[in-house]
C-alpha cells in the first residue's frame, strides 16, 4: 500500500519532534500612527532589530528611548493596534541573498513579488553594513561599458565607482541606467535595479523591457513602489546593496542602480518627522547626509586578497527645475565620484541622451578607460570644449573666418554623433571605430544631418565585411599603428559604398 509509508514517515517526524519552550522578550504597542509605532517594554532590543508585530507584520526598532522604543512598521500598519504584543526577534534586519534572486523581482525585504514562487535562500545579509575599509580596497581600474557613446568616451565609469545620474523629471535618467544594464549582457556583471517610490506601472514596464531583451538573466529588481509604506522606500536601497555585496564577496562585479535617492530622502524625512526627530534644512533630519553617504560608501573595488569583486553604484537624483544646488543634490554630488547631468533643454532640442557634456564629470573613471577609447576620446573632449566656447558666435554664420567655421561644423558633427536611441547600446569596438573615423576627418564631407545614418551603415558594414577589425580592437583594447592602417583601409572601403 502506498499510504502506509507516508503515515509511518509522518509518525516518525512527529515522534522525533522536540518542542521548545520559547522564552522571549516582548513589549506592548503604546501608539500607532502613519507607519510608525511606539512600543513599551522590549528591554533588550537593539537598534535596527526586527520586531514581530504578529500576523506576519514586521517592524524595525529605530529610536531607543528611555521609556519606549520608536519603530517603523514595514507592512500594513492599519492592522497593528495599541495594546498588541510585540516580540523582539534578536535578528538585525536582513535580507536573503544569493543566486536564487537573479532574474527575480523582490520587495525591500527580499520577498518575491513576481509570483514565480518563494525564494528559498538560506543565506542572509544584514541590510546595514559598515563599508569595506581602506586595506581591502583597490583603485578603480576596469571600465563599466554602459554602451552609451557620450558616457563611455567623455564621462567613463569604472568598476567600483559611484556615478550620479542627475536631472529634472522626464530627461531620461532611468533610460540611461536601463541602457547601462542592457549593455552588461555577456560582460560578466550582475545588475541590481532598485526602484524607490516609483509608480508600479513604470516598474512593470522596466521589468518587461529587461525581460524582453534578455537582461533579467543577470538582473535583480528590488521594488519599493509609491503605494508601499515609506519604511520600504527607506530600506530598499540598503537591501539592494546587501544583495550586491554578496556577489562582490564572491569576487564578482556588480552594478547597482538606485532609482531614485531623492525619493528615499523624502521617505526618510517622513519617518524621521513621525518619530519626532528634530527637522533641519528643508525639514530633512540632521543625518540625511549620512543616510546617503553610508549607502554609497559601500560601493567598492576590492583588491585581489579580498576576492577582487566590485560594486558599482549608479544613484539617481531628480532635481527641480534644473536646480543642482538644492540640499539633497549637493549632498549626493559631494559623495559620489562624478555626475552625469541631464538637461531638459537639450532633451527638447532633440539631443538624446540629453547629457550636458560641460557639467558632467567622472572623477576616477578615466583611469579605467581602455587605451583605445582614451586615444579617440582625447580629441573629442577638446573639440567639444572649443565648440561650447564658440557656440555663442554660431548665429553670425558666414561672417566668421574659415577656421572658426570649421571648428563649429566639427562641434555640430560631434554633438550629432553623440546622439543615440534608447535601448541600443553600442559596443566599445564600434565606438572606437566611429570616433576614429570622425577624428581623422573621414566624415568631413558627410552632411551633418546624415551623420547618424552614416554611423548606422558603418556599423552594419563593420559587422558584415570587417568583423576582424572589430575583434582585434576588442582583444587588444589599444590602437596600434598596424590597427590604425587597417581601420583607415576599412573606412575608405566603406566610403566607396556610401553615397
Amino acid at each position: 500500500m502506498n499510504t502506509n509509508p507516508i503515515i509511518e514517515q509522518l509518525k516518525n517526524q512527529i515522534k522525533g519532534f522536540a518542542p521548545n519552550i520559547e522564552v522571549e522578550k516582548v513589549g506592548t504597542v503604546l501608539e500607532v500612527s502613519d507607519g510608525v509605532a511606539r512600543v513599551s517594554g522590549l528591554s533588550e532590543v537593539k537598534s535596527m532589530e526586527m520586531l514581530d508585530f504578529g500576523n506576519q507584520i514586521f517592524g524595525v526598532a529605530l529610536n531607543l528611548e528611555e521609556h519606549a522604543v520608536g519603530a517603523i512598521i514595514l507592512d500594513d500598519y492599519t492592522q497593528v493596534n495599541a495594546g498588541d504584543t510585540v516580540k523582539s526577534t534578536g535578528r538585525i534586519l536582513s535580507v536573503p541573498v544569493g543566486e536564487q534572486l537573479i532574474g527575480r523581482v523582490v520587495d525591500a525585504l527580499g520577498k518575491a513579488k513576481d509570483g514565480k514562487g518563494e525564494i528559498s535562500s538560506q543565506t542572509f545579509y544584514p541590510i546595514e553594513k559598515i563599508a569595506p575599509g581602506v586595506i581591502t580596497r583597490k583603485s578603480v581600474s576596469e571600465p563599466v561599458q554602459t554602451g552609451i557613446k557620450a558616457i563611455d568616451t567623455l564621462i567613463p565609469i569604472g568598476r567600483g565607482q559611484r556615478e550620479l545620474i542627475i536631472g529634472d523629471r522626464q530627461t531620461g535618467k532611468t533610460a540611461v541606467a536601463i541602457d547601462a544594464i542592457l549593455n552588461q549582457k555577456g560582460q560578466d556583471m550582475i545588475c541590481i535595479y532598485v526602484a524607490i517610490g516609483q509608480k508600479e506601472g513604470k516598474i512593470a514596464k522596466i521589468v518587461a523591457e529587461l525581460e524582453e531583451r534578455g537582461a533579467m538573466e543577470y538582473t535583480i529588481v528590488v521594488s519599493a513602489s509609491a503605494s508601499e509604506p515609506a519604511a520600504q522606500s527607506f530600506i530598499a536601497p540598503y537591501s539592494g546593496c546587501a544583495m550586491g555585496e554578496y556577489f562582490m564577496d564572491q569576487g564578482k562585479d556588480v552594478l547597482v542602480v538606485y532609482d531614485d535617492l531623492s525619493k528615499q530622502a523624502v521617505a526618510y524625512r517622513e519617518i524621521s518627522l513621525l518619530l519626532r526627530r528634530p527637522p533641519g534644512r528643508e525639514a530633512y533630519p540632521g543625518d540625511v547626509f549620512y543616510l546617503h553617504s553610508r549607502l554609497l560608501e559601500r560601493s567598492a573595488r576590492l583588491n585581489e586578497d579580498y576576492g577582487g569583486g566590485s560594486l558599482t553604484a549608479l544613484p539617481i537624483i531628480e532635481t527641480q527645475a534644473g536646480d543642482i544646488s538644492a540640499y539633497i543634490p549637493t549632498n549626493v554630488i559631494s559623495i559620489t565620484d562624478g555626475q552625469v547631468f541631464l538637461e531638459s533643454d537639450l532633451f527638447y532640442k532633440g539631443i538624446r541622451p540629453a547629457i550636458s557634456v560641460g557639467s558632467s564629470v567622472s572623477r576616477v573613471g578615466g583611469a579605467a578607460q581602455t587605451k583605445a577609447t582614451k586615444k579617440v576620446a582625447g580629441k573629442l573632449k577638446v573639440a567639444l570644449a572649443q565648440y561650447r566656447e564658440l557656440e555663442a558666435f554660431a548665429q553670425f554664420g558666414s561672417d566668421l573666418d574659415e577656421a572658426t567655421q570649421k571648428q563649429l561644423a566639427e562641434g555640430r558633427r560631434l554633438t550629432e554623433l553623440m546622439k543615440q536611441a534608447q535601448y541600443s547600446p553600442i559596443s566599445m569596438e564600434k565606438q572606437v571605430a566611429i570616433l576614429y573615423a570622425v577624428n581623422n576627418g573621414y566624415l568631413d564631407d558627410v552632411e551633418i544631418e546624415q551623420t547618424l545614418e552614416f554611423e548606422k551603415q558603418f556599423y552594419e558594414y563593420l559587422e558584415t565585411s570587417a568583423k576582424s577589425v572589430l575583434e582585434k580592437i576588442a582583444k587588444e583594447k589599444a590602437l596600434s599603428d598596424e590597427l590604425n592602417t587597417e581601420l583607415d583601409q576599412t573606412i575608405k572601403a566603406f566610403k566607396q559604398t556610401w553615397s
Binding site: L10, F17, P19, E22, E24, K25, V26, S43, H67, T85
Partner: protein
Amino acid sequence: MKYSIQQYTTALYETIAECKPDQHDKVIQNFIDILKKNDDLHYYEKIVEAYEKYDKEQKGEKDVTITTATETKVDKELITALNQIAGHKANIIQQTNPDIVGGMVIRVEDTLIDASAKTQLDQLNKQMKSEEGKK
C-alpha cells in the same frame, strides 16, 4: 512650565513616602490643587495608573500574567517557582484564551515564557515544512 505624567507621579510618590501617614490627605489635596492650577486635571486618571505601576516597581512587585486555554487552578508549586523568578512578590493575574489550545503562557513584565500547545504546533508545522523542502 508643563510637567509630564511621569514627573507628576514621581513627585507625588516621593512626597508621600517622605511624610507621615496622617499628612497624606493633605498632600493629595495639595497635589490636586497644583493640578488644577496647572490646568492638568485631565491627567488625573493617567497619573493614578502610572502611580500604581511606579509603586509596584519601587516595592519590587511584579505582575505575572498566566494565560491558559481553559480555566484551571494554578499549582502552588508554580507560584513558588514564579516567586523565585520574579525576585520578590509575584502579583498573579490569571487569564483564559482558548486560542492557545493548551499549555500555558506566562508573562513577567517583558519576558514571555511560551509553553502553549499552539506555539508548539506551529513549530511542528514549520519543521515538517522545512523537511519537505529539503527533499
